[in-house]
């Protein structure tokens, strides 16, 4: 803080210029170590876990709050605030809460802390962004009537009961074997009673039950400071004295500040800077697996795409490895299944010939399907320039390998892209992107392919039935068996074909070590970071 005081008193530009050299080094990462560190990321939108779907919000809330169940580094659910989560039929779940836990304001963590928070988030008129994560709990429809003008009958989920101070009973609409994993999602965090008096004020200075507490209020667009919560009794005991999330509007600037040692950590170095970062930062570049998956979807409501052979022909005419090398420096993982490798139930090569570049077979299938008539329109959003690059390569492959000459690109503004897809206004293959909310094969398959949920208008009783069987299974192995069978159906019919899985690179300073950034919603495990 030497620089700040001096420049204030100096005032004059000339003097400040001359002290610039001394003061510039004083920001963020270069200070004499006080056991804390600074990480840079884009500004979050909310700090109430149930009211956000932004991973930048989860960066902060995952250390402020502790869910009933947490994920270990390999994506397995482990009890956190809960001492047990059990069910006989996968439909009615009984959760016991570990005694002696407190919120940052000393309020005890009870069954009601969870039940009230979930009811609040699930109640439609509260307009919480995480509302949909509670849709499997019995009574959800009463809180969110289909008719948007209707007032909900009740603001309590009928399937949610605080049996006593430390026992919750959850009744689901249908058996769901992945419920423990669902409980790891940030939206399932508890809230203290203090939250409901002034929910907006609470968003600025949330009180959680996690290993860290707010150190002052959220300084919007600037930073969020967290310090260690001394009353924390869980397993995520902090190995540092606190940390700051600093907000950046530009990833390039975040990277520049990392190089200037003004911050100690960033989770995703901009793709264009990765080669340079590897050269300059060496071991401080952190390669990260992700669960972010790109697919190519077909609008089956358009009769021209109704024939599975045509869809397979298009998929097999795409050279996934070539695109990975040309557009992504070969860093991405080319898909060999509908699931990314980090998910349990991923079978190498499950996708088979559908994902294998084979122009000859593709042309055969294309001719067998009777070819394609009219203009082939390819849809993608303008969020990143690389989407257009790979779509152009796809278009060239389709021209060369299948002889489709009339191809048009449809680059859609990012704000309209998803509503266009959900309104089914697209007239051709489109880029689909998915990142799971919790690491389960079910969370890739059901939202994207299930007949009542998919965007392609694909219907398959066989697929739906297998998913239901997996959801009702009593062991993990049995569930995965059914999910894999469902996956095979989706591969056979190819309404949505897999392309590749993203890879990302973080960066750190010399000051910190023991960095784990998981590919799940909990992201950076800040409590494990050690500071020199």
């Amino acid at each position: 803080m030497f620089g700040r005081g001096l420049s204030r008193s100096a005032g004059a530009v000339a003097l400040a210029l001359s002290v610039g050299a001394a003061a510039a080094g004083c920001g963020g990462g270069d200070k004499a170590s006080d056991g804390t560190f600074v990480a840079g990321h884009p500004e979050p939108d909310h700090l109430i876990p149930g009211n956000t779907t932004s991973s930048y919000s989860w960066d902060v809330t995952s250390e402020l709050f502790e869910n009933l169940v947490d994920l270990d580094k390999t994506g397995n659910p482990v009890n956190a605030a809960a001492s047990s989560v059990e069910s006989k039929d996968q439909k009615v779940w009984t959760i016991k809460i570990r005694p002696g836990q407190k919120f940052h304001n000393d309020e005890p963590v009870t069954a009601a802390s969870f039940v009230d928070a979930w009811n609040y988030a699930a109640y439609g008129p509260n307009a919480f962004e995480g509302n949909d994560y509670f849709s499997q709990i019995k009574g959800y429809a009463d809180l969110n009537p289909e008719d948007e003008k209707a007032k909900p009958k009740t603001d309590k989920l009928s399937g949610l009961k605080a049996v006593d101070e430390s026992t919750i009973e959850v009744t689901l609409d249908a058996p769901f074997s992945q419920f423990k994993l669902l409980l790891t999602h940030p939206a399932y965090a508890p809230l203290p009673k203090a939250a409901y008096n002034d929910i907006k004020g609470f968003d600025n200075k949330p009180i959680g039950n996690g290993p860290y507490m707010m150190d002052g209020a959220w300084e919007r667009n600037k930073q969020i400071k967290l310090k260690v919560f001394p009353g924390y009794t869980g397993t995520r005991k902090p190995k540092n004295k606190g940390f700051t999330w600093r907000s950046y509007a530009s990833q390039d600037t975040t990277y520049t500040d990392l190089r200037a040692k003004r911050i100690d950590l960033m989770q995703s170095i901009p793709a264009a800077k990765v080669p340079e970062a590897k050269r300059l930062l060496g071991k401080n570049v952190l390669p990260r697996e992700t669960g972010t998956f790109d697919y190519l979807g077909f609008p089956l409501f358009d009769k021209r795409f109704a024939n599975a052979d045509l869809r397979k022909a298009i998929s097999m005419a795409i050279d996934r490895n070539g695109i990975n090398k040309a557009v992504y420096n070969g860093e991405y993982t080319v898909a060999d299944s509908l699931l990314p490798p980090m998910i349990k139930g991923h079978r190498p090569g499950a996708c088979g010939e559908l994902c294998t570049y084979n122009p000859t077979k593709a042309k055969e299938l294309y001719d067998k399907a009777g070819g394609f008539k009219g203009t082939l329109e390819l849809y993608f959003s303008n969020a990143q320039p690389s989407y257009e690059q790979w779509m152009q390569i796809v278009a060239n492959s389709l021209k060369q390998n299948l002889g489709i000459t009339d191809i048009q690109f449809r680059k859609i503004p990012v704000s309209d892209y998803l509503s266009m897809l959900s309104d089914r206004k697209e007239k051709g293959p489109y880029r689909q992107n998915w990142e799971a909310d919790y690491p389960s094969a079910q969370n890739y398959l059901e939202p994207q392919w299930h007949s009542t949920k998919n965007r392609m208008a694909w219907t398959s009783k066989e697929f739906d039935g297998l998913i239901a069987k997996g959801n009702g299974a009593s062991t993990d192995d049995e569930a995965i068996k059914f999910y894999n069978q469902a996956e095979d159906v989706a591969i056979r019919e190819a309404p949505l074909v897999p392309l590749w899985i993203w890879k990302s690179f973080g960066g750190k300073s010399d000051k910190i070590d023991n960095i784990t950034i998981t590919p799940y919603a909990n992201g950076l495990l800040a409590h494990e970071v050690t500071v020199k």
Partner: protein
């Protein structure tokens, strides 16, 4: 003079109503559904969508929305962003950043720009003149983001003379480098305007008369020539202050300064009408006030221009 000020302030009312309505209508006309865009990949249940649409008056036609907005405005309520913050809070937080940045850039333009202009104007055709002309042409030709990134990497990162980004070091340290980048374009125009204006006025009859009276060069240039030469420069500086306030999106982005420009940019993408209108209205008001001040300054610089 007071009647002039009063008339100008009254003129501000229709300008205010016109700009707010125009901007509101333009944001309204932007394509896309802001509520759907909020949700990202996840579906929002109809009840949530409806609650949000009701809350932000998005179910109403344009005119009703605008009248509701104006009604709130009269009670001092500037509306709300889609993430639930009061627009007044957002703007007041960002306002200080933008004001500090614009002021730094503006002072830089004023002091260095006029200084360079006078220096070159007094020595037309000399090496100094050529340097100023060449240098300013170069700055005008280079896009601001190139200048910004270059200054950040070279002066901030490699030489360590300035902080690379952020506001943590306070004013003026955090604002020096972005201020210079932002002000460099205006500085070039100010320097060139001053130079031309000085050079022309040096040949005017009244300068010859002043020298003939036996006045020293310092007095002729400082008291007579400069004062007359500054009228176009002041006009430019007045207009430019408004531009600096609103047009710093790129600079604010590069140097991670959470200012108004960035907010307006983000809000346009999100279709956040109240924020865009609120910020623009503030900028329009600043523009009006600064230009009123400039008009009043004319009279001080050149007594022939009178206001009544």
């Amino acid at each position: 003079m007071w009647r002039f000020i009063a008339r100008r302030l009254l003129q501000a009312i229709p300008v205010f109503l016109g700009t707010t309505f125009l901007i509101y209508a333009m944001v309204f006309a932007l394509p896309g559904d802001p509520i759907q865009a909020l949700a990202g990949e996840k579906p929002l249940p109809p009840a949530v969508v409806n609650a949000l649409r009701e809350h932000y008056n998005l179910n109403d036609p344009l005119l009703v929305q605008y009248v509701k907005y104006l009604g709130g405005l009269l009670q001092g309520d500037l509306g709300e962003t889609f993430d639930g913050q009061a627009v007044s809070d957002v703007l007041s937080g960002r306002w200080t950043v933008t004001a500090q940045l614009a002021l730094t850039a503006w002072l830089f333009e004023l002091v260095i720009g006029i200084g360079l202009g006078v220096w070159a104007g007094l020595r037309r055709g000399s090496l100094a003149d050529t340097l100023v002309l060449g240098g300013t042409t170069l700055v005008i030709a280079v896009p601001v983001f190139v200048l910004g990134y270059t200054a950040q990497i070279v002066l901030g990162l490699n030489l360590g003379l300035f902080p690379t980004a952020g506001t943590e070091d306070g004013w003026p340290l955090s604002y020096l480098l972005p201020g210079m980048v932002l002000g460099s374009l205006g500085l070039s125009y100010v320097a060139r305007l001053t130079r031309t204006s000085i050079a022309e006025n040096l040949r005017a009859d009244y300068v010859r008369t002043a020298y003939a009276k036996g006045l020293t060069k310092v007095r002729v240039v400082g008291r007579h020539t400069l004062r007359n030469s500054l009228i176009p420069v002041i006009t430019y500086l007045g207009v430019d202050f408004g531009t600096l306030m609103g047009g710093a999106v790129v600079t604010e982005g590069i140097f991670n300064l959470p200012g108004i420009g960035q907010q307006v940019f983000q809000s346009i993408q999100l279709k956040e009408g109240p924020v865009v209108v609120g910020a623009s209205t503030l900028l329009v008001l600043v523009f009006l006030v600064v230009n009123l001040a400039v008009d009043l300054l004319y009279g001080v610089l050149d007594p022939r221009i009178r206001r009544d």
